[in-house]
Amino acid sequence: MRIRPAAQRLRLTSVLVLAFDTATPAVTAALHDGARVIAESTTIDARRHGELLAPAVQQVLRAAGAELGDVTAIVAGTGPGPYTGLRVGLMTATALASTAGVPALGVCTLDALAYAAETDGPFLVATDARRKEVFWARYGDRRTRLDGPRVDRPQDLPGELPVVGAGGRMYAETIGAGRVTGPEHPSAGAMAALAAEHLAPLSAGEVAEIARVPEGRVDSVEKASGLGVLGPARPIYLRRPDAQVPGAPKRVTA
């Protein structure tokens, strides 16, 4: 965990963004005061998002000498990512936001990875989608998503562009080791910084409008094509649930 001196708490009066992401094996939480990341916690554990996230949020608040009441916006990664972990972050954001009376916002997890990319110019971001597939998107630069997110086999990733994220690393043999670049996992610090950048020019009313969840069930599969950085805290699934409509009951007699 990286902590900066608590003296910087002086800035807390204006902006304090709490961000976290659970769409990859990284359980990551951070606080950003509008100028910089003031506390961040990241643990890599693909199986314990539900156990690690709430304590991580408490930890970054404590490290920054802040309370939940000081937070002005809550931002969670919307994936795409394995669904069980992904939902932990989004549910936490939504419930925490309602207790704090602040908006719950979502940022695409791949956008946060892109923002932290160690490369200039066009590149891809890819994360593990399991089932020998990757979640991926194409970027013009660190701030600009041009295409995606999508889910595909790694051999079907387009072009010769560098690939940021674990999805490139784990399929280095398929895509070519020379294309692999960092970081491997998203950081909530980068997500908070990206969100703070986009929140800065917005009025409270505009933020509330972005956070508003549309009436009825959101079909996140269709929604994933949007290219705006800030959205409501709703998941990007990209796959429909595995379920078969059954035929006639199986006979028990031959």
């Binding site: 549910m91 595995d242 007699t253």
Partner: protein, 345 residues
């Protein structure tokens, strides 16, 4: 029973397909709001875990808001948060546990991760007052068939027996499919059975005289399917009401027999029945008849409290607060196979 200094507990239940949010003050129910994704599962003939998990995430905030509105309260009025930590569908439980942790952390109130089965027992207090100590509990639903000895629902629950194969409610669903009745099968079998005779067909009663307090419904389900297929093969019509009634009679006979055996064996005079199958009219009638004959007092909560709901979780949470039990940490996992001996985590 309610006094203004009793704690207000928010209860969250997401172990299967119902997103349940209940609010109690002590043992007074203030709200019990439920969003069900059952419509989305019906065409699959069973609950699809990923569909249920997605629905919980969508439904949680509106359901919490609905419960608060029904109770005339605000989030800041909540004194403690209780949540089903298990057993249940892993991904579904995780959504409820994440929500409960966030509400507890955000409100700065204690969190109680509780056992779903113990909550099925605790809920009866909302309707019938304090539980006798000890009581025997028979919990029957699509997910569980358990006999419990309950010396103290907040601290001490003992498993006496459970199903070795299908849950009772699962058998209802499977037989309903064989008979061409919709999912979930329980209410449709109950309705069809009213037109038939429970004595028409002698279906087998699994583990009837084996001396244990365990159940088995898999053989019964197969016997019903064989019987129906034989009629169809012979080109004869299937008497759906008689099959439904005879199947139902076999299930209910075994359930009540073993429940009263448990009462006799442990010298307990109070039997509680809970879970979705407790809504079955024949189970209620036969249990009452046999309890009367044995001098056992029967407690069955009304149907809305028997099926999975948030008030049952809140009720158990209120018991834990009253018993001075140490709250859960924010690290607690959702445990899909949480044993009944663990009332809270």
């Amino acid at each position: 029973m309610s006094t203004s200094d009793e704690p207000i507990v928010l209860g969250i239940e997401t172990s299967c397909d119902e997103t349940g949010v209940g609010i109690v003050r002590g043992h007074t129910m203030l709200a019990n709001t439920i969003a069900s994704s059952m419509d989305e599962h019906a065409r699959f003939g069973g609950v699809v875990p990923e569909v249920a998990s997605r629905a919980h995430l969508e439904a949680m905030s509106p359901t919490v808001e609905g419960a608060l509105a029904a109770a005339g309260l605000r989030l800041s009025d909540i004194d403690a948060v209780a949540v089903t930590a298990g057993p249940g569908l892993a991904g579904a439980l995780l959504v409820g546990v994440a929500a409960a942790k966030a509400y507890a952390m955000g409100l700065g109130v204690p969190l109680y991760g509780v056992n779903h089965l113990a909550a099925h027992v605790a809920v009866d207090q909302l309707e019938h007052g304090p539980l006798p100590k000890p009581a025997i509990a028979l919990l029957v639903s699509g997910g569980h068939s358990s006999l419990l000895l309950v010396p103290d629902v907040a601290r001490d629950v003992v498993s006496l027996g459970s199903t070795v194969d299908d849950a009772a409610g699962e058998a209802f669903d499977k037989v309903a499919r064989v008979l061409g009745l919709p999912f979930p099968g329980g209410p449709y079998i109950d309705r069809a059975a009213k037109e038939g005779s429970g004595a028409a067909i002698g279906f087998p009663r699994g583990k009837y005289d084996d001396g244990t307090l365990d159940f088995s419904f898999s053989g019964l389900k197969t016997a019903v399917a064989r019987w129906v297929e034989a009629r169809e093969a012979a080109g004869e019509p299937v008497p759906v009401p008689d099959v439904a009634a005879s199947f139902q009679e076999a299930v209910v006979d075994v359930l009540t027999r073993k429940a009263l055996q448990a009462c006799a064996r442990y010298g307990v005079d109070d039997l509680l029945i809970g879970g979705g199958v407790a809504a079955n009219s024949r189970l209620r009638a036969l249990a009452q008849e046999r309890c009367d004959a044995a001098g056992v007092r029967l407690r069955v909560p009304r149907p809305g409290l028997c099926t999975d709901n948030g008030a049952m979780v809140a009720a158990l949470g209120a018991d834990l607060v009253a018993a001075g039990v140490e709250p859960s940490t924010l690290e607690i996992p959702a445990d899909s196979s949480l044993p009944i001996t663990t009332v809270h985590v």
